[in-house]
């Protein structure tokens, strides 16, 4: 019979092994050729850690552990099987689950220790539970918006930022009061509820187009709440995993903000809502040139180099498989086809890449914005499918544009630009796009999927 301390030592070895595997997992993820090894390393690490934990001598009852592990697997497998178009909302939901479990463990830890909780522990627990709770409700709201259960447009009202900050202030104040006297157990549930409320207020005013940043920020919060939980429980494996997840979310948030030329505070507190009125008022009737699928097919057919720019509209129309057929048809004719992916195209980082990979477009044809922009002046046709703001040339020239300074894909430099769009309605951010009125732009009005289908049909009859 081993002593408790001896068992604990073996458990620590298991956790060290898990941490090594987690770091290797992220290292291997850096390239598509080794990435699947990364998943395997992560899986082995997680399995070792969970299996070892089951031998922890502190555990006196296994019934609920087994039942809830089975429930977790039963919920997790369908969530791992969702369609690729549903990945953003699935991701938001998993941030909610992760943050909720970190918050619940923090809450349990408080009630386990309550008369003996020190001020220092109280500070750690308070911060951890506040971040976990606000990430939980914030992520649920984000998932609701992405699933379109909730409206995607920003919901704003006068004095919103003051109300939100006051609620956050209240949560922190309650935490401070509890640090002063950790035995005031009645304050604890109030603090949790206020933090949950702040999460709702934080994400409700944010519009769908800002989701890539928000989802990354929530990712980062979920990670840091797990790391803080590691401090509370003195568990180094949680500190490491939380720090890795937190820094990953943080880097992605920074990349997303840079890709929109906005700051964190601007994304969180400067909802695009106010812009809509001024942009709509300035609208005037200007001529646009439109074209039929036959015209579009004719132009694509004689092109040597085509760049396709996908956006959220492609995801909404589920057009990725048709786009792939178009790609095949053009490649067969010897046309050089590349895809230009803007970092914030879609609703989460990398969204377009996953959709196109699902449709079997080889990943070496998916180019980042900076990589492809230099090629656009030599491009015969730029075909924009369901993207709007990320192609707006006003971001480069018009200082009064709300997106001035945002890096965009230079489709206006291509010899011909074709834009598949439902109507002339300005996008979700309500910003007019001068691209549509340019001389070498052809508007292809219609549903992305239907229009691409028609182009493909046309191309097949031309053989």
């Amino acid at each position: 019979m081993m002593t408790i301390a001896a068992v604990q030592q073996y458990l620590d070895f298991a956790y060290v092994a898990a941490v090594i595997l987690f770091i290797l997992s992220l290292k291997w993820l850096s390239s598509p050729t080794t990435a699947r090894w990364g998943v395997l390393a992560g899986e082995i690490g997680a399995t070792i850690a969970v299996a070892a934990t089951l031998f922890n001598p502190e555990i006196v009852q296994y019934k609920w552990i087994i039942i809830t592990l089975i429930i977790g697997a039963a919920v997790g497998i369908p969530l791992g099987l969702v369609k690729m178009t549903a990945v953003p909302q699935r991701t938001a939901l998993s941030h909610a689950f992760g943050a909720a479990s970190a918050a619940m463990i923090g809450i349990a830890e408080y009630y386990v220790g309550v008369p003996r909780v020190t001020r220092f522990q109280m500070g750690e627990i308070g911060l951890e539970v506040i971040i976990g709770s606000l990430t939980f409700t914030g992520s649920l709201i984000a998932a609701g918006k992405l699933q379109e259960i909730l409206p995607q447009r920003p919901i704003v009202y006068r004095g919103q930022n003051i109300v939100s900050l006051a609620v956050l202030g209240l949560a922190l104040l309650l935490a401070i009061l509890m640090v002063i006297n950790p035995a005031q157990a009645w304050l604890f549930p109030i603090m949790v509820v206020v933090a949950l409320g702040f999460g709702v207020l934080l994400v409700t005013p944010i519009g769908g187009a800002d989701m890539p940043t928000v989802i990354s920020l929530l990712n980062s919060y979920a990670g840091f709440s797990a790391a803080l939980l590691g401090f509370v429980l003195n568990s180094k494996v949680l500190v490491v995993a939380g720090a890795l997840d937190g820094s990953s979310g943080f880097i992605l948030s920074v990349i997303m903000c840079k890709a929109m030329n906005r700051s964190f505070t601007n994304v969180l507190f400067g909802a695009f809502g106010q812009v809509t009125t001024s942009a709509a008022a300035a609208k005037e009737e200007r001529p646009v040139r439109s074209a039929s699928p036959e015209d579009a097919a004719g132009i694509l057919e004689i092109a040597r180099k085509v760049v396709i720019v996908p956006g959220y509209g492609m995801a909404v129309a589920q057009a990725q498989h048709k786009v792939r057929e178009l790609y095949d048809a053009l490649i067969k004719r010897g046309v050089d086809v590349q895809f230009a992916i803007h970092p914030v195209a879609g609703r989460m980082p990398g969204h377009m890449n996953v959709l196109l990979a699902e449709a079997d477009v080889p990943y070496d044809h998916l180019k980042e914005m900076d990589e492809i922009n230099g090629d656009l002046p030599q491009t015969d046709v730029a075909l924009v499918i369901g993207a709007n703001d990320v192609t707006n040339p006003a971001a480069k020239t018009d200082k009064s544009s709300p997106i001035f300074g945002m890096p965009v894909i230079d489709v206006d430099k291509a010899h011909t630009t074709m834009v598949i769009k439902r109507s002339m309605n300005p996008g979700f951010a309500g910003i007019d796009n001068p691209l549509y009125y340019m001389e070498n732009t052809l508007m292809l009005f219609g549903d992305a999927k239907a229009f691409v289908t028609n182009i493909v049909k046309e191309l097949s009859t031309h053989n």
Binding site: G38, G42, V75, L79, G80, T91, S247, G249
Partner: protein, 97 residues
């Protein structure tokens, strides 16, 4: 201050930098799988939930621990699963041009 606090700070800082350097190198191509993979790794909080539920101290803490097990384990299973599904879809083109 608990004696282990400072050693945890060291671990956090080193892991944070390590994560920063590793993740900076992940191609934007794989940003979606990156997020689902780090989510699955983060679900390691399940080990803390297992201990809370297994210690069986009060009804409240057992329930909180049990729900936390279900929530985080579903993230772990679902996260690894969907990441692998996504990565299997990324195929290189035939090297002809």
């Amino acid at each position: 201050m608990p004696p282990d606090f400072i050693s945890n700070v060291y671990v956090f800082i080193v892991a944070g930098f390590c994560g920063f350097e590793l993740i900076k190198r992940v191609s934007p191509l794989l940003h979606t799988p990156l997020m689902s993979l780090t989510n699955a790794l983060d679900a390691i909080v399940v080990v803390a939930a297992i201990i809370i539920a297994g210690r069986h101290e009060t009804a409240l803490t057992t329930v909180l621990g049990a729900v936390a097990i279900a929530a985080s384990f579903s993230n772990m299973v679902g996260g690894f699963f969907i990441t692998d599904r996504m990565l299997r879809m990324f195929k290189a083109g035939k090297a002809k041009q």
